[in-house]
């Protein structure tokens, strides 16, 4: 139990020394050849060269331990943005830094593949909308978790086994099914195995892409409770992509709105939902409430 003084010191230092965990500025992802006209683009498609910009000039900061919501209609570039941050796709433009990593080196988006792999394996976890992208369906659940641990440099088989069982319990999966193939699991269970796998290396940053889409209501609720519990107990920062405003309202401290590849609004979650400024956000909020 922390005493009063310790609490005060912790609170003060948390505020005064707050620096972002992840800082992104001017991130863009282009499909197509690109041309000088792309630099001053109005829409999503360049009229000169026909390139499509899935993300355009995205800038935001993510702070330690917070849940940052990202909403937008399908096709607005949410998943592309997440894949760029996870180095699954190569971003065309932009700068991404993790200040706590090696004293905050230069642009991670332009770092070597080896360096990107290191960042991904040691500092990030990702849960994909489609479990087939995040899990190897023909490798046991425990094997999937082991894969992430091996990548993060844990080679001791006993320790891997213990950690896998611990994560299995944490996401409320039945222990006897640890060695079963994920393809035999239900959608909700697959999502929970994905979360266990993403958490295996104890990352400070978790990227969640539509974790509850397609799950039935009670399963959705349990996955959301799990996300909440992880944030509360492990203090993991999360970038949470969802088109479900109820999920965003329940989980996110701050929310960003994407529309046609751009961030059109960002603010406190209650402010974005109750006092939306951009026409698209107004439409979104009125559509779903």
């Amino acid at each position: 139990m922390m005493n009063q003084a310790g609490r005060a010191i912790a609170a003060v230092s948390a505020i005064n020394e707050e620096q972002p965990l992840l800082a992104v500025s001017g991130l863009g992802k282009r499909y197509g050849p690109g041309c000088p006209a792309c630099l001053d683009l109005q829409g999503q498609r360049c009229p000169q060269c026909g390139s499509l910009w899935a993300c355009y000039d995205i800038s935001f900061d993510l702070y330690p331990g917070e849940i940052l919501g990202l909403v937008g209609e399908s096709g607005s570039g949410k998943s592309t943005l997440l894949r760029c941050l996870y180095f699954e796709e190569e971003a065309t433009t932009g700068i991404m830094t993790i200040p706590s990593y090696q004293g905050g080196p230069a642009n991670l988006l332009a770092a070597s593949a080896q360096q990107q792999r290191y960042i991904r394996n040691h500092m990030m976890g990702m849960v994909f909308q489609n479990p087939w992208l995040g899990l190897r369906m023909h490798v046991s659940g425990g094997g999937n978790i082991a894969e992430k641990l091996l990548a993060a440099g844990v080679y001791h088989v006993g320790r891997i086994r213990t950690r896998a069982a611990e994560l299995w319990r944490q996401v409320e999966m039945p222990l006897p099914r640890l060695d079963e193939y994920p393809q035999n699991f239900s959608g909700g269970m697959q999502q929970r195995v994905q979360i266990a796998k993403a958490l295996a290396n104890k990352p400070p940053l978790l990227l969640l892409d539509e974790v509850t889409t397609g799950l039935d209501l009670s399963v959705q609720a349990r996955v959301l409770d799990l996300v909440r519990q992880i944030q509360r107990e492990l203090g993991v920062a999360m970038l949470l992509v969802s088109h479900d405003l109820a999920v965003i309202r329940m989980l996110a401290d701050r929310t960003m709105v994407m529309h046609q590849g751009r961030l059109v609004e960002q603010g406190l979650t209650d402010q974005v939902l109750e006092d939306p400024e951009h026409p698209y956000t107004q439409l979104l909020v009125r559509s779903l409430l």
Binding site: I15, E274, D275, P279
Partner: protein, 289 residues
């Protein structure tokens, strides 16, 4: 600090009525310049205007507040009254930053940050202020279902560094004082009666002992005995130095707790308004004694 800093730069001149609105008369504390204002003022509004630029059907400019200025002294209870639609709730939401004021300043003397303009402070700063200094009691309890009443209250203490057992003990103490029967502590507030929900709502705000507490009709759904208990707690918190701004429809309750009363009026046919749709200005006047 958050990117964008003061968002007003990009809004400058759009629909700002600063300096040309309705003159404000006889305010409690008076409308004074920032430098000249009293040492004791903890909250000071300067020409706050809130308009909604709605684009959903046709472009409509709605004014909720216009050129409102007043100060609240440290430890004071300012009651707000006025007819429905006069902008009472909007005013509280502007102070809490659920709404972003269109123009004007809301100066708050923070224990951690010194003078902060709540109208444009960085969002992370607002999140920290909400966790530790500024409380808000809405008209209705809005919480995540599936969470026990005691945890709904206790979780407010967790960001301040309390352990869960400690936080739960304090929550139970407060729920007992608010006469929530012990058998309800582990039940979800969603199943409670209106009055019980409202008391949980109050407990959630009271438990952090905020420096500034905003109350939106906190006693509206309570019977007279419960009103008595709530007033008692409000007075006790006030004695501990909490400054409060509260909306009450109940004149009797208002008389028992408020030091000063601000009356918001709808002023019809105000000049200088080019807004389409409903154009209404607000005027502040002292409560007729």
């Amino acid at each position: 600090m958050g990117r964008g800093g003061c968002y007003k730069d990009r809004q400058a001149g759009s629909h700002c009525y600063e300096g040309m609105g309705i003159p404000v008369t006889a305010l409690p504390g008076g409308s004074k310049g920032r430098d000249k204002k009293e040492e004791e003022a903890i909250l000071s509004l300067e020409s706050v205007t809130k308009s909604f630029h709605l684009t959903l059907t046709r472009t409509i400019e709605l004014y909720a507040l216009r050129d409102l200025s007043f100060t609240v002294g440290r430890g004071e209870f300012l009651g707000i009254t006025g007819p429905s639609g006069a902008g009472k709730s909007s005013l509280l939401k502007c102070i809490y930053r659920t709404y972003r004021p269109t123009c004007g300043h809301i100066w708050y003397e923070s224990a951690r940050y010194g003078s902060v303009d709540l109208a444009c402070a960085p969002e992370r700063q607002i999140i920290h202020l909400r966790a530790g200094e500024i409380g808000y009691v809405s008209q209705f309890l809005k919480v995540i279902p599936r969470v026990a009443a005691v945890d709904v209250v206790a979780e407010r203490l967790i960001p301040g560094g309390y352990s869960w057992p400690e936080a739960r003990r304090k929550a139970i103490e407060l729920l007992t004082r608010l006469h929530i029967p012990p058998e309800l502590w582990d039940a979800c507030p969603a199943t409670f009666s209106g009055g019980e929900q409202q008391r949980v709502n109050l407990a959630r705000a009271f438990i952090t002992r905020p420096r500034l507490l905003l109350l939106d009709e906190p006693t509206a759904s309570l019977d007279s005995a419960m009103k008595g208990h709530v007033i008692e707690i409000i007075k006790e918190i006030k004695k501990n130095g909490t400054t409060m701004v509260g909306i009450f429809h109940d004149r009797e309750v208002m008389d028992r707790v408020a030091d000063n009363v601000l009356e918001l009026n709808i002023v019809k046919g105000c000049s200088g308004s080019k807004a389409e749709g409903r154009a209404a200005g607000r005027e502040a006047a002292p409560w007729p004694q």
